[in-house]
């Protein structure tokens, strides 16, 4: 069923691509292999007139398959909005988002829901788990909702990696914050999604638990070839990524490859200085 949707979706996108071809350059075959998610000319505008705010102003970004990308920026820079638009939780005012080949900005609600279920994984800052379900039930929830059979081997691998094998029968209220976030990560990966979006996954955690969660995300990219896009404001967290995008006032300002905490901090200082000079 879900696989069917993917096919139909892909086909629809292909047809659309052909029809609207003049507007948007066709994605070449090499790119299709390597790009997991692509945002193109994204605008997100709130309000109108005096109170008009552009949370995103013409952002174009690609997120390669098997890569761990961090999005950084000060509060109100639009980084969460970008993540929500890329994940199909929010609709951009203008622009397009492609998950693989599929333009998700035009998908109806139901297909978008199924897309999130089958091809996207989520980790939020807090309240990630359904309190009535056990850790294991939470992990398999997207699969259960889709009515899909789980790949037991993959599931075992993921569970081994989060290191909570003995706590799977516990309810979220019986787990620590760090453990809860690791369970959330495992859930995000359980369906082998095209991409995992993490919105400040360590925002509520102490440094030790943060390190556990980030190490897990890092491993899932390095060892299992998953794609992760993470929003954070913590330079240390960003240093786990392969690449960091810097956002300010809704615009993409800078990019850093193979970051360290120091280089991230330096870039942020530079951006602050530029902003201060501009202001």
């Amino acid at each position: 069923m879900a696989a069917g949707w993917r096919l139909v979706g892909g086909w629809l996108a292909a047809v659309r691509g052909r029809v609207g071809g003049a507007k948007e350059p066709r994605v070449d075959s090499v790119r299709r292999m390597s790009v997991a998610v692509r945002g193109s000319g994204l605008w997100k505008r709130y309000g109108s007139g005096q109170t008009q705010v552009d949370a995103l102003a013409d952002v174009t970004a690609e997120f390669g398959q098997g890569r761990f990308t961090a999005i950084m920026g000060p509060s109100g820079s639009g980084k969460s909005t970008l993540l929500h638009c890329l994940a199909g939780l929010d609709k951009p005012t203008a622009g397009q988002v492609f998950v693989g080949d599929l333009d998700i900005t035009r998908l109806p609600e139901k297909q978008l829901t199924h897309l999130r279920r089958d091809r996207i994984g989520f980790v939020f800052q807090a309240f990630n788990l359904v309190p009535t379900l056990t850790a294991l039930e939470n992990i398999t929830l997207p699969l259960d909702l889709a009515g899909r059979k789980f790949d037991q081997e993959w599931l075992d691998t993921v569970i081994d990696t989060i290191g909570l094998k003995d706590r799977l029968g516990h309810k979220p209220s019986e787990l620590s914050g760090g453990q809860q976030q690791r369970v959330a990560c495992a859930r995000a990966l359980a369906a082998r999604p095209d991409v995992v979006f993490a919105d400040e996954p360590t925002g509520n955690l102490d440094s030790r638990s943060s390190a556990d969660v980030l190490a897990f995300l890092h491993r899932s990219v390095r060892d299992f070839g998953q794609t992760v896009v993470m929003v954070t404001h913590d330079p240390t967290a960003a240093s786990y990524a392969d690449r960091v995008l810097f956002l300010a006032d809704g615009e993409l300002r800078s990019e850093l490859l193979d970051p360290t905490a120091e280089s991230v901090l330096d870039t942020m200082k530079q951006l602050d200085a530029t902003a201060a000079a501009a202001g």
Partner: protein
Amino acid sequence: MVRLGLRSVLAHRSRFVLCTVAVLLGTAFVGGAMVFTDTLSAALKKNFSGSTADITVTPVDPVGVRTGRPATLTSDTVQRIAAVPGVAGANPELLVRDVQILGADGKPTETYGLPTYGGAWPRDAATAPFRVLDGRPPWGGSQLALDQSTASREGYVVGDQVRVVTGTEAVTAELTAITSPPLSGPAAGAPLVTFDPATAQLLLLGEPGWTSVGVAVTAGSDPATVSQAITKSLGDNVQVRTADQVAAAGENALDDAFGGYSAVLVLFAGLALFVGAFLIVNTFAMLVVQRSRELAMLRAIGASRGQVTASVLVEGLVIGAIGSTLGLLLGIGVAAGIRFGYRRLDLSIPDVALQVHPGTVVACYLVGIVVTVAAAYPAARRAGRFPPMAALRDEVALPERSLLFRLAIGGFMLLMAVVLYLIGVRARGLTGAVLLAFAAAITLLGVVMTSPLVSRYAVRALMWPFGREAPVILGRRNAERNPRRTSATASALMIAVALISGLLVIAASAKASIERDITDAIGTSELVVSSDDPATFSPAVADRIGKVAGVESVHRVRQQQGKAGDRTVQVSGVSDGTLDGPITAKLDAGSLDGLGGGQALVPRTLAKTLDLSTGETFDLTTNTGRHGLTVAGILAPNRQLNAIVVSLPTYASIGGATTDSVLYVDAAPGASPAGAIRAELKDYPTIQVRDQQAYVASARGPVNVALGVIGMLLGLAILIAILGIVNTLALGVVERTREIGLLRAIGMDRPQLRRMLRVESIAICLLGALLGLAIGVVFAASVQRVMVDDGLSVLDVPVPQLLVAVLLAGAVGVLAALWPSRRAARLDVLRAIATE
């Protein structure tokens, strides 16, 4: 704090709507009942100002019942009253109920439940119980008078031929006069037919006699003094009342007559408020949890416990006041509707404005507000207990009182219920049934208290057949999540279903018992002849049936009521051979032989109550006084003859009328004379000739009426229970906004979300329905057990109907989930996730 409470109600308007509706329904029934009763009694009191006699003398009715031949005064008594000093005139009057006036089409006139009265034309218009409006007095057996509203309703004018059926005779006579309806006493406002006094005595009583004497006092005499003089002269087998006393007594009689309507309305009000209270308790509990942070913040900035509690109670007060106001208005509307209905029926109840007494207003507000505030109190008290620190913490740890206390109380209640049950089962008869009803009520409360303990497992077991798909598991877990809330929500439905299933079982058992008893009792007779309203008919009927071809024999049964000890009993006179033929009387002791010698058969229950055995003598009081009877035998329970049975001559000697109540007709072998008998009795339209099956069906009629009332109770109780479930689900959706957002974000689609909520709703409904069903059926079966000698000889559990009730509960669950799940499905995913 008051302002805070008001603001909170305004801010959470939609969450309080359902609470308000529950209060509204409850108070509407209270208000409606009171306004309707007040209006009716005001209307009828208007009538009593028309009572004209200064003093009224009536015979003391030793039995105190309304059916059968009334107690009478002789003409001799009238003479003696006239002779008392101060009496200007003593006018004997006759007023007998259970007469039928036929319309021009030959069918009985519709009286909308009022009995029709037959009376004697007054000798003196000044003291008559009604007024003459038009025409000349009727004379002899071929002339009569009708009351104005009956005449106009049926289109009769003076000069028309009118057919009337009385307890003794059916006659056709010319309408010569139009009167008002009876102005006073229990007959006030009822349809009335009058004849000249001699004819009236013959047609209505079958013998001479008067039912009252209207006395006019001489000018200057004090009615009270004269009334004492009359009492002195006649002794204490008459009742002497002045006009004032008659009016007061008449009002009491009216309250009795119309008390039934009020009682039903009050029953509805009680049920609505009781079930509604659960809804209110739940709503407040949930709202307080949702607002825990806000309330803790109040504590942090210096509000005392008491102030926080007060702010929540003010919310209860406001909702109670709003609900009561709307309920009162609705109640007045309901009463106006009933009054409008009555006016449309063209009954001669005088027209008065709707009576909204201050007492009604006070009662509505009192009931509405007290119930709401009391129901809000537990939540308010908890609100005061939030520690100020809770405001700062992310998730508020609720100071939940352990279930232990609840369980202890609930367990104690269940224990009490068991003890009561055991006593009840041992005490036979009505006492036992009442004890069992109490036990059932306490059990319900006990289960309400203890059910959180078991609800989790019960829900799991109930929802097992629904599969293990993710939405089902999530819905089920939501129902298990807060056992108290689930239990409280289910409790409302449980009480409703317990009540209804219990009544259903009792009604079905009553039906089955009637069927079996009649089948037993009808014996070998092919046909049963009886009459409704008047319940008796002329002995000529039996004579005429006896002459119809194909009829082998006719057995007469005559019935009246009497008193043995302080119990009202049925007394039956039967013709010879009746007990060996159409009625198979089973005797516990003694024999039928004594009947011919003036002895009596006594039913088992009565024999037990009076501690009688064969050969002993007991006193039976009838309209003609006390009569000693010797026990010939003890009757085993038998519906047709749950009465003291005597032979016809004995029956006459103890004051029984010479009119028949039931005839059993034996047909000659191979003959089927039903058609011929019906043709023969064409001029007696109230008489029904039925075969066995038709007779059973007619005996079941009252049970069917009872089932109708049960149906209405069901509707109301379920309506309020639905409100409760909708409320719980809707507030649950608000409470779990973030969780729903998360589920939607990770891929739950809208149908799955709706399904999740539907499952939760169905789980709650089935829990309530099955608990209620179990309690209702068990107690009803026990009631049948103890009433086995009192009319409920057979237990019948109407399984299909009960199954329908359970399915209905499931359907209610689906219905109740509609609105909350629509709301949940419409939630914006991003906002839901961001919700605090």
